[in-house]
């Protein structure tokens, strides 16, 4: 035994010597062609210092080649409000549905996705996690409180919707009875949930990332964040989710996230959503307490919140026509009547701090002032569905909550009303949106989390179109003609979510922009690049460029620089359309024609589909309902990529 160990040690020592010998020769007078144990060393075999395309098509290709589809924001019966609305499906059913199985919805309807998702984050509300199930079931711990008892009675007598609305309101006004937040209720539900996630996490095939939602809703103004772990149950169980009952201040949430990372060595991030319901708070220039932003605030937010959920059931938040009057595609699926619970109606001056495009612009301004950009976020979509069913397709939309699952009444049923009854939201205003497209190198928790961190992700409103976006200084039109644009993209530039700096003399940024339609979806109308910048006087500007479009042989830019609409093939009563307009694939190289190397800027891509029937049209046909004329029956679905930022060299 001892001899063999010694022999191995000797062999290793010999190898080490031999190798250093080889290196010495290679670095020195290798032209001598001295013999070694791995063959004669010839000068022309020396590893080249430049990168040449290799023989093996697989080697060196460690960039992501397949986009992964998922929902980072799904609620189940473990969420207070979901259960109150009658959802009885827990995380297990949510996973089975997401990975492509048929399940029975809470309203006893058979439902299945057109195609499985690759990953799912079950993100139940941390506030009273699981307590509504307890409330509904009359847990004596909760029934001692008269308000809880009354809510319980309302649920038991079929007034669950009203009870849920009262609960949501009470969270906003801070009057929710304390018993609902008993950590004893949360802990068992949390650990049961992480256990289920563990069982359904199947690396390489289906990823169940662990997460939850922190539901800060001060005075009804939405500052919600979805929290996502890179880690598994072992680390996630070391905490109980930090909830808005602990603090409604995002900075306190960040403290919690950092202490989790410090304590466990794990990794965690947060994704804000629904700035459109924040009444000017999401991208405000002051912090939660109304003080001016600091460098520390900016650094922490940028570090822990790499992406923003820009589109979901409660409306789309990319752009608003009030802020972008020249953008005819601004204002998609707007929810701009008030804050989350309509306790405060919208004023136009709030909008500039709510929409992603302006948030990105404010980030440039803050970066100049603070040295760090707090709003340097990528973009994803997710459902925020409360049915345990991650549905975002127009012809398969199961609604916001179990009370809004397919039925003849759901479109015209009021969804929410302001206290003075001046504003009502209706069921038809729900948006069948969205999903997250993630350029991850592998279908695992780690790879998906890392892709979110580097912002190599994009949002869609439901369709699974493939979108690529690369920025660099040397792309040329021929790059858009190569067989594998992604290969050129990665070798000559940075992907979506990346940075450009130090413009070479006389050069403007060049971009490789491409999209491929969903294989079972509609053709593409156009691809646009949205540029935002801060001008020399400090003003924030943006401009939308049509860079490539379908039917280009017939469609030309007008004298006003606008591209004519693509037209429509939608037959609303029959819910059909044809791919006879638009293109299945669009690709181009684009150079910024208005570049100034001294000015901060960002660029992101918006892909627009040809018109297709909206979910309301499918409802109308299926249930024989006639919709009032204010109900939109067609839609132009879209994708938004994470930006690429340009920062001048200081």
């Amino acid at each position: 035994m001892r001899t063999s160990t010694a022999a191995i040690a000797a062999a290793i020592a010999a190898l080490v010597t031999l190798q250093s010998d080889i290196f010495a020769k290679a670095q020195g007078a290798s032209a001598t062609g001295a013999g070694t144990d791995i063959g004669t060393f010839y000068k022309d075999e020396e590893a080249p210092l430049y990168k040449a395309p290799g023989y093996s098509p697989y080697a060196g290709r460690n960039y992501p080649t397949r986009v992964l589809w998922g929902d980072t924001h799904l609620h189940t019966a473990n969420s207070l409000d979901a259960a109150a609305f009658g959802n009885t499906l827990g995380p297990e059913e949510a996973y089975r549905f997401a990975r492509g199985e048929e399940v029975l919805s809470a309203t006893d309807q058979r439902v299945k996705l057109s195609r499985p998702l690759d990953f799912l984050v079950v993100a139940d509300h941390a506030e009273a996690l699981g307590a509504t199930v307890e409330l509904k079931n009359g847990n004596p711990l909760l029934m001692a409180d008269p308000t809880l008892k009354r809510w319980h009675d309302m649920m038991a007598s079929g007034q669950g919707v009203d009870a849920a609305l009262e609960i949501i309101r009470s969270v906003g006004t801070g009057t929710t009875p304390k018993a609902m937040f008993d950590p004893r209720l949360a802990k068992s539900v949390w650990q049961a949930y992480t256990g289920t996630a563990e069982r359904y996490n199947d690396p390489g095939r289906f990823t169940a990332l662990i997460g939850y939602e922190w539901t800060s809703n001060k005075s009804g103004n939405n500052l919600h964040r979805v929290v996502i772990f890179r880690d598994g149950k072992d680390k996630a169980d070391l905490i109980v989710p930090f909830s808005a009952a602990d603090s409604e201040n995002p900075a306190k949430l960040w403290d919690f996230l950092d202490s989790y990372q410090d304590k466990t060595g794990g990794s965690i991030l947060a994704i804000p959503h629904n700035g459109n319901l924040s009444n000017g708070r999401m991208f405000a220039l002051v912090d939660f307490d109304g003080r001016g932003l600091t460098r520390e605030y900016a650094e922490t937010r940028a570090r822990l919140e790499p992406v923003y959920e820009v589109t979901q059931i409660k409306g789309d938040g990319e752009s608003h026509p009030f802020l972008s009057p020249n953008d005819e595609f601004a204002g998609y699926e707007l929810w701009d009547k008030g804050n989350l619970d309509l306790t405060e109606l919208k004023k136009p001056e709030m909008l500039q701090y709510e929409y992603a495009r302006q948030g990105l612009e404010l980030g440039l301004k803050l970066e100049k002032e603070l040295g760090v950009n707090p709003f340097k976020f990528g973009m994803i979509g997710s459902t925020d569905s409360h049915t345990s069913l991650a549905t975002a397709e127009e012809n398969n939309f199961f609604g916001k909550h179990s009370g809004a699952e397919p039925s003849p009444e759901r479109a015209l049923h009021p969804f929410m009303q302001s206290a003075d009854k001046s504003v009502t939201l209706f069921g038809w205003e729900m948006t069948a949106s969205g999903y997250a497209g993630v350029w991850a190198t592998d279908n695992t928790r780690e790879a998906i989390f890392d892709a979110l961190m580097r912002k190599e992700v994009y949002a869609t409103t439901g369709p699974r179109m493939i979108v690529r976006f690369f920025g660099g200084w040397d792309f040329n039109p021929a790059d858009a003609m190569t067989r594998s644009p992604a290969e050129v993209g990665y070798s000559k530039g940075v992907p979506m979510g990346g940075d450009l700096t130090a413009a070479p003399d006389g050069k403007a940024p060049t971009f490789l922009v491409a999209a491929l339609k969903d294989p079972i979806g509609a053709n593409l109308d156009r691809i646009q690049v949205v540029k935002g910048w801060q001008d020399a006087e400090g003003g924030l500007k943006d401009k939308v460029y049509d860079v490539v479009w379908g039917n280009a042989d017939k469609r030309k830019l007008g004298a006003d620089g606008k591209l004519p609409p693509v037209g429509s093939t939608v037959d609303v009563p029959n819910t059909t359309w044809t791919n006879t307009i638009g293109d299945p694939e669009l690709i181009t190289e684009w150079t910024d024609p208005d570049f100034d190397p001294k000015l901060r800027a960002f660029y992101y891509v918006r892909v627009i589909e040809i018109p297709t029937p909206r979910w309301t049209a499918y409802d109308a046909k299926k249930f024989g309902v006639s919709m009032p004329k204010e109900v939109p029956m067609t839609t132009q679905e879209r994708a938004y990529t994470s930006p690429i930022w340009y920062t001048p060299k200081s």
Partner: protein
């Protein structure tokens, strides 16, 4: 040493517990179901503090702990008084809750399956665990934007056969990779459109062939390897078998256990004609 001891949270808990014991040990004014003595034990306090620490990632301050303990006591007082007043009797909510607890309890009686049971489940449901076929291939694309992509593809095929895939020109860019490593059929369909994988699996490997139609146009393909569908060894998928076994057993067990309990009762339904004792 003494200083460290004084800063020790556990000591604080113990002292607080002792104080509370003295206060509540004297008994409340009302008689209640669990007796008149409420003891907040060290264990209770530790549990309350642990709940706080798990959330905040730090121990509670004295004030915070005091608040949490007060809350616990309040709950206990109301709960016990409620019980002594018989509020739990004939209460639909309490009945439902106890029924649900029984359901959970019965579900929990699903014991861990032994190896032979899992194996039997695996054998009976082999299709659930079968790994689908995988194909590795290369593809050259001709877009449906062309006036006659199929004819163009057919014209390109002999060039590919003669000179290999690096033939320049004659094809179109595509966002899907040119080279696919071993890829499951469902993933191929998800990228090329329904039916493409089926056609691809009919292609003889080792030669450029096609064109095959996708959602985007036509593709000439070179299949380099086919890995047939296979059933992985049981040990390799044991966790998945267990997960599926539990999912399948849960509902069944609730019902089986109910029937067992039901057998302990003699049920007679009076009154209405034609109504029988439910199973």
């Amino acid at each position: 040493m003494l200083g460290r001891l004084l800063r020790e949270p556990l000591l604080h808990f113990l002292l607080l517990g002792a104080v509370l014991f003295v206060i509540f040990g004297r008994g409340g004014p009302e008689p209640s179901a669990g007796g008149t003595e409420i003891v907040v034990t060290t264990t209770d306090i530790q549990r309350i503090a642990a709940g706080f620490s798990a959330t905040w990632q730090r121990p509670p301050s004295e004030n915070e702990l005091q608040g949490a303990i007060n809350d616990y006591i309040r709950e206990e007082v109301l709960y016990r008084t409620g019980l002594s007043l018989g509020l739990d009797k004939d209460d639909t909510i309490v009945r439902r809750r106890i029924r649900q607890k029984m359901d959970f309890f019965l579900e929990d009686t699903v014991r861990e399956p032994d190896g032979s049971e899992l194996r039997a489940f695996f054998d009976a449901n082999a299709n659930k665990f079968r790994v689908e076929p995988r194909i590795s291939f290369r593809q050259v694309f001709l877009s449906s934007k062309r006036s006659n992509p199929k004819a163009d593809a057919e014209a390109l095929l002999p060039q590919l056969v003669a000179s290999g895939p690096n033939v320049e020109g004659g094809s179109d860019p595509l966002l899907l990779p040119e080279t696919f490593g071993l890829t499951p059929l469902s993933q191929i369909n998800a990228q090329f459109g329904e039916g493409f994988a089926g056609e691809l699996s009919k292609v003889e490997s080792g030669h450029w062939a096609g064109p095959l139609k996708s959602a985007y146009g036509f593709h000439l393909v070179l299949v380099t390897a086919i890995e047939p569908s296979q059933l992985p060894p049981f040990e390799e998928v044991r966790d998945a078998v267990q997960r599926e076994w539990f999912a399948a057993r849960r509902a069944a067990v609730r019902d089986e256990q109910y029937q067992k309990l039901r057998a302990n009762y003699h049920v007679r339904v009076e009154g209405l004609n034609g109504v029988r004792a439910g199973q």
